[in-house]
Amino acid sequence: MIKRRMWRLLALLFAFSLVAAACGGGDDDADDGAGETDTETTAAASDDEAMDEEMAEEEDDEGATGALGGAAAEEDIEAAVAGEDEEDEMTEEEMEEEEMFDRSTLEGIFEEAAARRAKTVAELTAAMESGEYGVGDDGVLRGPAGFEIDVSACPDDWSNTTGITDSQVRIGHTTAQSGNLAAYGNIAYGWENYFNWMNDNDPIMVGGSPRDLVLVVKDDAYVAAQTIEFVDELIEAENVFSILTLGSPNTLAVYDKLNEECIPQPFVMTGHPAWGDPVNHPWTTGLQMSYSTESILWGAWIKENLADLLPVKVAGLVMDNDFGLAYELGFEEWAHANSDVVSEYLPVRHDPAAPTLTNEMTTVAAFEPDVFISMTAGNPCLLAIQEAGQNGLIDDIRAKGGALFTPSVCKGIEAYMKPAGDFANDWWIVGGGIKDSTDPKYTSEPFIAFINDNLEAGGLDPAVSLYATGYMFGYPYGEALRVAADLPGGLNRTNFILAVRAIDMYHPQALDGINAQLNGAADAYFIEGSDFSKFDAGAQTWNIIGEIVDVNGRSTNCAWDKDNGGCR
């Protein structure tokens, strides 16, 4: 009997230790430096003393993480928000180019795309032929603005043309098609639908013959451990040409390996700042506005628009994973540097798998913030709005003259705003400069109409916003593949990453005023601008308030420190 009880006790201790291990170090970790572990201790620390102490600790540790990377300088962004930005003036040549094409028709959009591709191909080809760009005798791939990859360091069995067969170009994709964030799996269906349209209407030509773009999709259920397994499978068994991953934790888990294996990983489906690291991770790029930029834009907006309330109390609802923590870290650093704007900041974290957020939002409401920022994704976007409505947070904040923000990844009207009903009215968003395909304001635009028609033709429901997001990623992907196919040597991995790093395009799903551009090692972020929009629940549309902010080319690169969080 005693023996049995002993065994039970041991088993219980073991269970507790497992849970404790899963929780991580807690407070003790804060001594290791700033960043991720530091932020853990700030959650729910509502008393001023704790906040002050922590800020003091962070000041001491400033050197560990340095200034926030992956975004433009705060002054640049704040000036842009205040409308004092010195906008890059367009050259006469650029203005003429823009006027040459009619963006109000699909033909005009495609003509402009073709012309821009031809220009990029001509520039890259000239540089490659002169020996300035391309793989040199020393085995180094060189590209614009100091971009370099030592291809001789790639694995021995690496091939520049893996994944290109006689009839296909095989592209691997890991995404969540099951689990709590399964809705994001819809992006893959939209992307594939666009590639199918390309294959049928205007295929990629390799060596004079058409090749079908084929997506090999693996469902990782948003679990990073599964992403690692599937990426191995895509490399070793599926022999794909390039790989695109979805999700910050998932992409962080595999981007070291993909860069070691010299496999292109452009336009990943996440806005984590880590994707702007052309020196250490040259094969990886992002597409959407970085979460760091978004965090600064929240702060800049508060500073500019809530002047009468300053300093304000801000509460955030943070998804507890690499994605949410990138937001949290970004905004916390901004708040720390702007204590005259933000007097207190309370991040309340939630389990990504939590079915309801009632308790978390009760904690937020009890803090009585002037500004609430949702830093989450997927269904929690909707839950945050719904709970804020039901617990009175919306009314309380509005009565004070404050504001509520939903994050850029929650812009989808049909998916996240419409189901929240009237509670969604007047929420703000730093929208990432992207048009939502279900927004009635844009449905008659030629490219959005093309997407929606194309989706219907493919048997997909245009009311699912995330299908159109697949085009947002698929369109520049296709453009870069076309450029690469026209370079000396044709389509191969080095030409593809060269084309990606030199891309300068008009993206018809981006708002006017948003540049879609990369430039070697100098500009590692594709979209660096945003709209500030307010939701009109009656008309079910995002109304842009004020000017579009674009800090194109001014974001600093970010070598992400995986251990401590933040850019090294």
């Binding site: 008393d47 819809n186 507890d320 309340v348 798998a353 309801t356 009175g392 007047d426």
Partner: protein
């Protein structure tokens, strides 16, 4: 430590609301366990299917919400009985492994099929307990606020009055339905009370069915001793089918009750809820219907008060927020280690 007692009642109400949903789902688990002594891992997915039936009937077909729920329960009962007949009954009841594998397979299949039909984007549903019905003048425009519903009346020309965005337009609009009571400074939402009442009514109905009907008597006989029940002429197969049908009804009820709090229905809505329900059933006793209810409510309270209030608010430890599921597993482990039959379950006594 920040002993914020002001918000504790909110957390208690939240916990008891979630707990009532776990209790209903736990009842579905216990009903099948009582009949077959195995856990049906497809309970959550069958419940999700029921919630989608409510969505189709109420939102797409325009039927009255409560009628939609009733019809969805009946359809679910049919599906539950059909699953038992087609996929469970052919197997030897003494050999649990094949049936457990079948329920796992069903879990995957139903989830995938629902995803294929309805997509994973959340679909909004009506809240059965959102607010008290109230008389609203013709031509009024209804608006939602955190207090409830506001009816904005027409002006003298018969046109809808303009309401400035973000304001309630006090002189033109009036409150016609609130969504909560204020109890000791906390919001006790009608949805919470409604969920408790629905659970209580369902329990009464279950007690009547099991205690006062022939089918219920047969079910109790089979769940007590299958062999003896068969020997006295009870059709055990049909009775087990009845148990599956009842379980599906309770599953559908739990999913329909929780759907508004989840933002709507989606194929993954019951994934996590089933784990909490399992913890509740294990705590109360896997073969105790009353235990399932108390266990479900207790799990809701532990999650809300111990983890979210004490862990996050009082101790100020953010990582407690991701411990909610871990706590459910820990609870299951502790119960299985120290009281395998649960708090109210039947203790197995082995004669030697």
């Amino acid at each position: 430590m920040n002993w914020n007692f002001e918000i504790l009642p909110d957390f208690i109400f939240n916990g008891l609301r979630d707990g009532a949903v776990y209790a209903a789902a736990a009842l579905a688990l216990v009903l099948i366990f009582k009949a077959t002594t195995l856990i049906n891992f497809a309970t959550g997915e069958l419940a999700m299917l029921g919630a989608f039936f409510v969505y189709v009937l109420n939102i797409e077909q325009g039927l009255w919400l409560w009628l939609s729920i009733a019809i969805a329960m009946l359809i679910s009962a049919g599906i539950g009985a059909a699953v038992e007949r087609a996929l469970v009954r052919p197997f030897d009841p003494a050999d649990h492994l094949p049936v457990v594998l079948i329920t796992l397979g069903l879990f995957l299949i139903i989830n995938a099929v629902a995803g294929d039909i309805w997509n994973y984007q959340v679909r909004r549903v009506n809240d059965p307990f959102g607010q008290f019905p109230s008389w609203v003048p013709n031509g009024s425009e209804l608006k939602t606020s955190s207090e409830g519903t506001i009816a904005c009346l027409t002006n003298s020309e018969g046109q809808l009055a303009e309401v400035a965005p973000g304001t309630s337009g006090a002189e033109m609009c009036e409150m016609v339905g609130r969504t909560f009571f204020e109890v000791i400074g906390a919001r006790l939402h009608y949805r919470t009370i409604g969920t408790w009442i629905a659970l209580a009514l369902a329990l009464i109905a279950l007690a009547i069915i099991l205690g006062k009907t022939k089918a219920g008597l047969a079910f109790r006989a089979v769940s007590s001793n299958t062999e003896s029940a068969r020997l006295v002429g009870v059709n055990t197969g049909r009775t087990l089918g009845f148990g599956w049908a009842l379980a599906s009804v309770f599953g559908t009820l739990s999913a329909a009750l929780v759907a508004p709090a989840l933002g709507g229905v989606n194929p993954n809505m019951m994934l996590t809820i089933l784990i909490y329900a399992l913890a509740g059933a294990a705590l109360g006793g896997l073969d105790s219907l009353g235990g399932a209810v108390i266990g479900g409510l207790a799990v809701g309270l532990v999650k809300s008060v111990l983890v979210s209030w004490f862990g996050v608010v009082v101790l100020g430890q953010a990582y407690f927020s991701i411990l909610q599921l871990a706590m459910a597993f820990l609870l299951i482990l502790i119960v299985l280690l120290f009281r395998p039959a649960g708090l109210f379950g039947t203790r197995r006594i082995e004669r030697v």
